[in-house]
Amino acid sequence: MKIAFCGDSFCADNNIGTWPYLVTEKLNAKCIWKGVQGANQYSILQDAKKIMVLKPDLIVFTHTTPYRLANRHNRPLGARPCEQNKHLDKVWETGHLYYEHLMDYGFHEFTHIGLVKECHNLCVETNTKVLNLFSFSTNELNFRHYKWDVELDNSYNEKSLARISYDFQIPDNDEYDFNEPGWSTLPNHMNYKGNKLVSEIVLEML
């Protein structure tokens, strides 16, 4: 069995103890794709198209926020990274200027809804089993013009991954034998207990 985890940083770490790892292990499957830090929703769709070529048995999406900027370099152009990196080169600077002067929130929200649906439709059309998780929701980020939460078949809308992560922010590396002592990390933005919970949600949906 081949599983692809397609999305943003909430599924970018598939090392031991993380929720993609736990799901993959439980299903005795092979992980063929993982998420990308700072991915925008258009790049997630583009990744999904590439994944289709690999003929996965299951795709688990972590759909991201609407407010990241699609760009031809596939860089993580969010408002904060652009602000922080604006001095590095023209692409970052342009991203920053986009957020400062141009951004239309409604347009981002509207296109986000279309892109999420397109991801799902791609799987339906190719008869690929799909689960949709959402990294963020309007409960945390609110909305301006369009309520951009999307409800789909096989989607988990009860809590966003960001909301789940808020309850699992204290690193618990030392409680797990597979970690070297002294490290404190939050893989996929949450501790290992949080990762365990997400894996249970996914497995229950399956």
Binding site: Y42, L45, Q46, L69, A70, N71, R72, H73, L77, K90, V91, E93, T94, G95, L97, Y98, E100, H101, L102, M103, D104, Y105, G106, F107, F110, T111, I113, G114, L115, E118
Partner: protein, 201 residues
Amino acid sequence: MKIAFIGDSFCRWHTEGTWCHIVAQHYGASWIPLGQDGSNEYAILQRFRKLISSKIKPDLTIFCHTDPYRLANNQDLPLGSRCAEPPKELTPIWQSSFDYYDHVINYGFHELSHRAVINEILTLVKDHQINALHLRSFVPSDIGAGAREYNWDIAMEPSITESLESIAVMNKPEWKNHLSEEGNQYVAKLVIDKIDSLKLL
């Protein structure tokens, strides 16, 4: 009777001799002018939403759908169109838009977004039972590279398939709505023939 014209610069002008004027006059209709120079498709959707939520109910709404590569922005400026005339001294928004096209634009994203916006317009037309006719200001073959990743010339009914840009190219010099006087007459005839053949009015 009222006819709404909503879209980009191809339906911007309604003065005597323009195709919008000829069509409205032919049916003894008044017109609701919602064409805007350099409009992007998202702005067209927003104006259409306002029209729906207003108490004005046109008997026919004629759309001029634009190209996908214009940049939706919070100032509703004509960014990315040939109608875009920046101020002599570039303001930050204009400079940012130039940088956007130089360094960031993802054409596929624009094309896919364009399809989503048009589909939303078609859904609104259906849901609100609006009598509509769709014109294409551009089709992919009008633009140098054509469609890059997604075919953005999507099916719309009822519609005229011949693009206004292709008519404009054949009808120079430009007078109003990017067309010569003859070009305006030609478009008016196309529209009137379509309205009559489909009994839209």
